[in-house]
Amino acid sequence: MDAKETTLWSRLINVAIKFRHRPEVGVILAFVVMSAIFSILSPSFLSLRNLTGMFTVVSELGIMTIGITFIMIAGEFDMSVSSVYALGGFLFVTLANGMNSLLAMAIVLLGAMVIGFMNAMVVLKTRIPSFIATLGMMMFLRGMLLAITGGKSVKYIGDSIVPAILSTRLPLGFRPSHFWFLGLTIVFSMILMRTRYGNWVFATGGDKGVARAMGVNTDRVKIINFMISSVLASLAGMMVITRFWIANASFGQHMELEAIAAAVIGGTFLTGGYGSIVGAFFGAFLMGTVRTGLVMSGAPAYWYRAFVGAILIIAAAINLKLRRQEM
């Protein structure tokens, strides 16, 4: 081997070794393996039609997962995301049926920011654990939505501007939501890993006392992250509405648990201070893939949930083992 070859080879090995330490390794491997298995069991699994179909569901879950990952790394939970998702969708339809849809979307995003801010205030002022506080918010918002709608669906009859931005099908079966998901993953991953703010997020979740002692405004970090979580959840809610053309109070129930599962599968710790947005990206893919793969393989329908549960436990355990090796 001449000198150039050795360096390239050893460089590749170096990259592989460094890559092993990243939180996303486990979930990416799992995703690849799972996709391989499903494509063997069902030849049309890798068809463009199916990939774009899965990408849609994954994008909606994934955008919510990005937000929840961000707040989890900061050491808090946001269980209210599923209700903000449903409420955001409903509010959007109600408003957009009577005004410019862009304006409606802006109002919904603003409203979500307010809800996120309220979540943060309750947690910071009352010192109730965020899991409980946001659980309460989740039930409150969901209940309010059920009361307002009486369980009835609301049809979308607004203009097609926001649907075109969010969900309307593009050539080859792709949708704008796919690109939103990709883009938001890149943006938030950069923020988390490559900015000062990201360092503060890690510190706030890793050890709030130390972070404050070093001058980080942990309160502000939490407020911002709660707001981000709600805004992204409402965005996802508007995406599903502009795809189904109806809004219903029952949308998104239990989705907060799916999002948390996706985050954990992607390498984020429940206890805070450690995690990955790229991991969340693949975690959402894993969650979205499994169900479809099982349907397409003709597997007994009653086993879906058990499978997803088993995968969650295995993935979380493997991630933890991998991290323990280097911490």
Binding site: V33, I37, F38, I40, L41, S42, S44, F45, S47, R49, N50, G53, V57, L146, G150, G151, K152, S153, K155, R169, V240, R243, F244, W245, I246, N248, A249, S250, F251, G252, Q253, R291, T292, L294, V295, M296, S297, G298, A299, P300, A301, Y302, W303, Y304, R305, F307, A310, I311, I314, A317, I318, K321, R324, Q325
Partner: protein
């Protein structure tokens, strides 16, 4: 030690999935018909429909029926399941038309490209010109269900206040039943409304109990789901309410327990939509269309509602136990 452990679990998952796959392959035949229902598939009502679909599939050696749906009713999951089914390029699709507006985008293109699609159980009740052009629809008119329930009730007595309990918020057909009930009752001068009892049987029972406390003049309740009624009646009896006297129950669908309730006088009557036939005929029509190009009878192929009262119980009890009714 750690790596071995990780490898072991990986192998286990792999094995599990391969077994599933082998099972699927073993069943692979010439024609694959996907039956996707809005569920929850664990609900005994849907088990009857599933039996119908599977029994039909067993009739022909070259017919493979894959029956699926969400474990408990969830619109987004149901739609994702339909999309997954379509992505396998099946020979035909039989599905409930639970949310027609949301299913427009998905079904119209495949119908246009020639895939046989048959609707069952939940109809598309928009104006004829707007409906999804399925080959046919097998089931009931949801609005009529509500009307029939009300008429049957009014035959027996004139209530002061009537309530409909919606167990699938978001399902258009379930909402329409409520509308049929309310419209007919209101026309007869009875105060009527619908309440949402969520997907959760326990929570739903609590909601009904609370409603009756808030509106003690309510004397008839129309329930669209057997499993829900089976949690509601015990809950109300817990409150000291004499079910069948203080409050009368109009029911939809059959189960062994419901038949028992009718026998005991707690439920006035129930209505049968013969969901076994929905699954059975759905599969048969789809298969005959795919294989021989035979066109099924036009929509709606009505499977009910047949009113079931105490005199019918003897005949039905055994069949209900076996899963046919």
């Amino acid at each position: 030690m750690q790596m071995r452990w990780g490898k072991l679990t990986f192998v286990l998952v792999l094995a599990g999935l391969l077994i599933t796959g082998v099972a699927a392959f073993a069943a692979a035949k010439n024609y694959t018909v996907y039956v996707v229902v809005h569920g929850g598939i664990a609900d005994p009502f849907w088990k009857v429909c599933e039996k119908g679909a599977k029994d039909a599939g067993a009739l022909y050696p070259d017919l493979n029926v894959i029956y699926t749906g969400p474990a408990s009713f969830k619109l987004e999951e149901f739609i994702a399941d339909v999309e997954a089914a379509l992505a396998t390029n099946p020979d035909a699709l039989v599905c409930t038309l639970t949310a027609p507006e949301a299913m427009d985008d998905i079904l119209r293109p495949v119908i246009a490209s020639g895939l046989p699609v048959i609707g069952i159980n939940a109809p598309d009740l928009r104006p004829e010109a707007e409906r999804i052009p399925v080959l046919t629809y097998i089931g009931m008119d949801s609005y009529t269900i509500g009307v029939t329930a009300a008429k049957e009730t009014l035959k027996r007595f004139t209530p002061k206040r009537a309530v409909y309990v919606n167990h699938h918020p978001g399902a258009t057909n379930i909402e329409l039943r409520g509308e049929g009930w309310i419209d007919t009752m209101t026309a007869a001068g009875v105060t009527a409304e619908a309440i949402d009892i969520t997907e959760d049987p326990i929570q739903g029972a609590e909601i009904v109990s609370a409603y009756l406390k808030a509106h003690p003049d309510t004397d008839v309740l129309f329930s669209g789901n057997t499993q829900r009624t089976e949690t509601i009646i015990p809950r109300l009896e817990d409150d000291g309410i004499v079910v069948g006297k203080d409050i009368k129950i109009a029911q939809m669908d059959i189960s062994s327990q419901i038949l028992q309730y009718i026998s005991d006088g707690k439920v006035m009557f129930t209505m049968d939509q013969q969901q076994y036939m929905q699954g059975y005929l759905g599969v048969i029509f789809a298969y005959l269309n795919v294989k021989y190009g035979l066109a099924p009878p036009p929509a709606p192929v009505s499977t009910g509602p047949g009113v079931v009262t105490a005199k019918d119980i003897a005949a039905l009890t055994e069949l209900s136990k076996e899963g046919y009714r």
